[in-house]
Symmetry: C2
Subunit: 247 residues, 2 copies
């Protein structure tokens, strides 16, 4: 008999039951980003719990990146998709705790982006190619005008993920992008290598059109390695609000 049939029956706290109830309403599509929930007091009444319980349920949903709360008249809890930001925040926490290194992230990034490109190579449509070409054209124009094209360089990878036509890859790319942005903001070298980026991206598109898979993959890998060299390891300044004076 399969032991895992008998689930752990974890005596959930009621704020957890409420938060996972609302969560499943979100996953099922019954609640969508932008939807307003009733106020704390009102929802607490409807779930027949106290306000504190309701509030703790809201805290969970906030931290899960699914809800924001606005104060004041006309405010209240609003469904909101913030999940990628939350994930990258947690990744940063993990890096601070030395559970993760930039090296590991880069290794994983190269592997995942190659997988995405490989998949996109098979599934890509003409419109996707057009979008990618426009992206590179805009990037090059900006560089000529001495502007930063880093937004376009990020966007390139997003477009590539879309071309794979697979939502899992799109989610993963979003996560990688969010983490990368975060790392860049905090730990990047003073100037950006956006020029080499746009160039490499143009060549990747060419390789796709020529149906030269290996060439495309090689250029991508080289590009990512170049970019990742502009990230420096996290220093242990422990940042943040407070000195360690107990409590």
């Amino acid at each position: 008999m399969d032991k895992s049939l008998f689930e752990p029956l974890e005596s959930k706290r009621s704020f957890e039951e409420i938060s996972s109830n609302i969560k499943s309403l979100i996953f099922s599509g019954a609640l969508k980003p932008g939807d307003r929930l009733p106020s704390e007091i009102e929802l607490a009444k409807q779930y027949k719990v106290g306000r504190q319980t309701m509030r703790e349920a809201f805290r969970i949903l906030e931290l899960s990146g699914l809800l924001t709360v606005q104060k004041g008249y006309g405010g209240g809890p609003i469904i909101h998709d913030n999940i990628m930001e939350r994930i990258s925040d947690m990744i940063l926490d993990a890096m601070k705790l030395e559970k993760l290194s930039i090296q590991e992230f880069t290794t994983a990034r190269i592997a995942i982006e190659k997988v995405i490109l490989n998949e996109a190579f098979d599934k890509i449509a003409q419109e996707d190619i057009t979008l990618l070409q426009e992206n590179v054209a805009i990037a090059k124009r900006k560089i000529k005008k001495n502007q930063s094209a880093s937004a376009e360089n990020f966007e390139f990878h997003t477009l590539m993920a879309r071309a794979s036509k697979n939502n899992i890859f799109i989610v993963m790319e979003r996560a990688i992008n969010a983490i990368h942005r975060f790392l860049r903001r905090k730990y990047s070298l003073p100037y950006n290598k956006t020029k080499t980026g746009a160039k490499a991206h143009g060549k990747i598109i060419e390789a796709i059109i020529e149906k030269d898979r290996d060439k495309a993959l090689k250029i991508l890998e080289k590009d990512i390695i170049t970019v990742s060299k502009s990230l420096i390891p996290i220093s242990d300044d422990s940042s943040s609000t407070n000195s360690a004076k107990g409590f």
Copy 2:
């Protein structure tokens, strides 16, 4: 001038100040996993806030994977390192928010697991091989006794991710595993093909020992395809705890 230098000055709520205070104590090393914090009431007194505020701060730390709370005598808040599990939970949430098809999932799973195996192939140590072998041995024993070995079959992939020595892959594997379980609950055939799984896993280990990378990858791919065939859309009962009648 860099706009992001001027930080948003978000008027933090007091439970947020407290939670980030405790967080920075953890990052600085002043608090380590296993350390007990004073009770809710005691800490609330020390921070000069109400108990409700203190509790909401604890909820944040729980969701950040940094704290657990135990009820009863001798219980209380305990620093706890759960962060990687929380990250994969959140990736799982992000994937659940997209409506994934089984086709999409399988495609992504094949690609990701191949990446992991490929990485593990280079980084694997003797102990990892031993663990994998034990896993397969247990699975085969269970199958002989006509028991389900599906727990072991899932575990095999987890062990492989560990062998890659990259925490990002471990987290991703956990998310993929969770999605797989989730889909199995929704759409699984009445009986499991655990037998072919254990066999394939044994062969993968052999291929790794023989240093035959392509062979290992091919067996893996075939195994995943076999498993995915046991996933078929049954009906569109839209699942889940709750009928969508609001709250």
